[in-house]
Amino acid sequence: MAEDAFDAIIVGAGPAGSTAATVLARAGLDVVLIDRGVSAGSKNLSGGRLYTHALGKVFPDFVDQAPLERLITKERISLLTQESASTVEFASGKLGGHSASYSVLRAPFDQWLADQAEAAGASVITGIRVDDLLLRDGRVAGVVAGEEEMSAKIVLLADGAISLLARRAGLIGEPDPHHYAVGAKEVIQLGEEVISQRFGLAAGEGCAWVFDGDCTDGHIGGGFLYTNRDTVSLGIVTTIGDLGYSDVRVPEMVERLKRHPVVAPLIAGGTLVEYGGHLALEGGFDAVPQLVHEGALLLGDAAGLGLNTGYTIRGMDLAIESGRIAAETVIAAHGRNDFSAASLAEYADRLAESFVLTDLAFYRRFPKFLEDTRGMFTDYPKLAEDAMLSLFSVDGSKPEPITRSLRNAARPIGFGRLVRDLWRGLGAINGRASVAGALGGAAFRVRGTANRKGGTR
C-alpha cells in the first residue's frame, strides 16, 4: 500500500472538524483540515446560541479568546397567534458558569476555531471542495478533490448535515424529509446600545427567544431571535417533511415573524446585513446513522448529532464534543496503527456514554410527538391567547371565575386531547428510563464490515 500522506484528513471546518483537528494536532499527528468555503465558517449559519460546556473542555480560555457575542441571561418562549404573544420569560444571573451559553455568529466563530487548529499545527486548506472519498480495498483511504487524490490513515467526515460525501460513498442512505428542517434567518443591525435598551439587557448580556405558532403558519417548527452584540439574529426553522401543510413559503415565514406586533417594534429602524438559509437536523436519535466505518468516522451534523428540544436547537456543542471524542479515538488507534472499524469502535461507545447520545436518547420521542401534535403550533397558541384575554381584559362585564375562563378557552381543543397531549409531551421529554434501552439497540453501534452498505467501487 502506498505511503499515507497524512495521519488524518478532516473534511469540514465547522465546529466538529476544527475541534477534532485541534485535538489531533496537539497530539502531534499530521492532520489536514479541508473546507470548501473561502474561509472557515463562510458556508455556515446557525440560529446562534452556543452552549459552551463542550468547548471549555478543549479551549479552557475561550471566554477571553473566542468571538462570542453576548452571554445569554434572559430566556423567552412565546406562543404566537397573529395578534398576540403569550410569553414566559426567565431572567437570571444563574444562567452562566459551566452551563453558560452565548450568542455567536458563525463566520467569525468558525474562523476562530479553525485558527486554533492551525495554531496547534494542523494544515488548514480552504477553498477546496472535496468531491469524493477515496475508497481502496473496501475501506476509506483518503479524499478526491478535482484531479487530486490525497490519502490518509483515516478520514473524519465533518461535512455537515447533508454529508454528500458519506452519501456518495454509500455510508449513509437517502435523506428523509422528516429528518431535516430548513432554517432561514436575517441578521439585523441595530447597534449595541439600542439592543441593550430594547431587550432590557446589561452590557454584554443577551436574550434568547423562541416562538411557536403563527410565524410558521402552523407548520412544525418555530421562530428564534438571539441578540448579538450589535445585531440580532432572527429567523425560522421548519421541518422539510411538513412543507406540504400550507402554502406559506419559507421566506414568508421570516417576514411573518418580523411583522408580528411583539417583534416589529424591537427591530424597527434596523438594517438588514445578511439573509441566509441552512439545513438543520430534525430526526433525533433514531436518525443517527452508523458512525464508525473502515477508515472513517462521522462527526457532528454529518453524524446526525443534532437536537431539537422544542425550546432550543442544539448541534454546535454536540459537534464539538463529537470532534473531541473522535480525535481521542484516532489518537488511540494511531498508537495501535489500526484504523479498522473494530479499532475505532470506541468512538461510538464513548459517544453513547457522553451527553451527546444520552441527550439525543432522552429526547428520542420528541420529533414524533411534534409530528403527531400539530396543536402545539395551532390550537395551543390560540388557547393561551384566549385564556390570557379572559384574564386581562376588563370591559365592565361581569368577571368570570378563572377556572371557567380556562375551561372555555380549552373547549375547542377538548379536555381529553389536552390531557393526552400534555401526558405524551411530558413523556417525550422525560425519556431517561428508556435511554439505556435506546442505546442498547441502536444502529450506530459498529456491526463490522458486513453491515457497511456499498462502499467499494
Binding site: 477553498g127 441578521v187 419559507v250
Partner: protein, 93 residues
Amino acid sequence: MSLEAKLAVDRFAVDEESAHIRLADTSDVPRETLELLVRGCPAGLYRLNDDGSLDFDYAGCFECGTCYVLAHGTALAAWHFPRGEMGIEYRRG
C-alpha cells in the same frame, strides 16, 4: 423588503462556468413536488409557471440542501456544492 433586495445584501461568487444545481425534465414530476420546491427554498429561487413548468436560477443559492432533500433524483438532475470558493459567502452566519 423583497427577496431580491435581501439577496443583494449577501455576498456571492457566482460560478458562471458551471451550474451546481440542474433541473431535470420535470414534465413527469408531480406538481406537488414542484410546489414544495417553490415553498421550501429559503432564497426563493424556484418559480412555477402557469403552464406547470418550473424555472430555477442557481445564482443566489445558499447551498442549504432543502431542494436536494425534496427532489434529488426527481425534479433535479444534479445537485452538488459549488466549486471551492464559489457560491454564498456568509460574513455573519
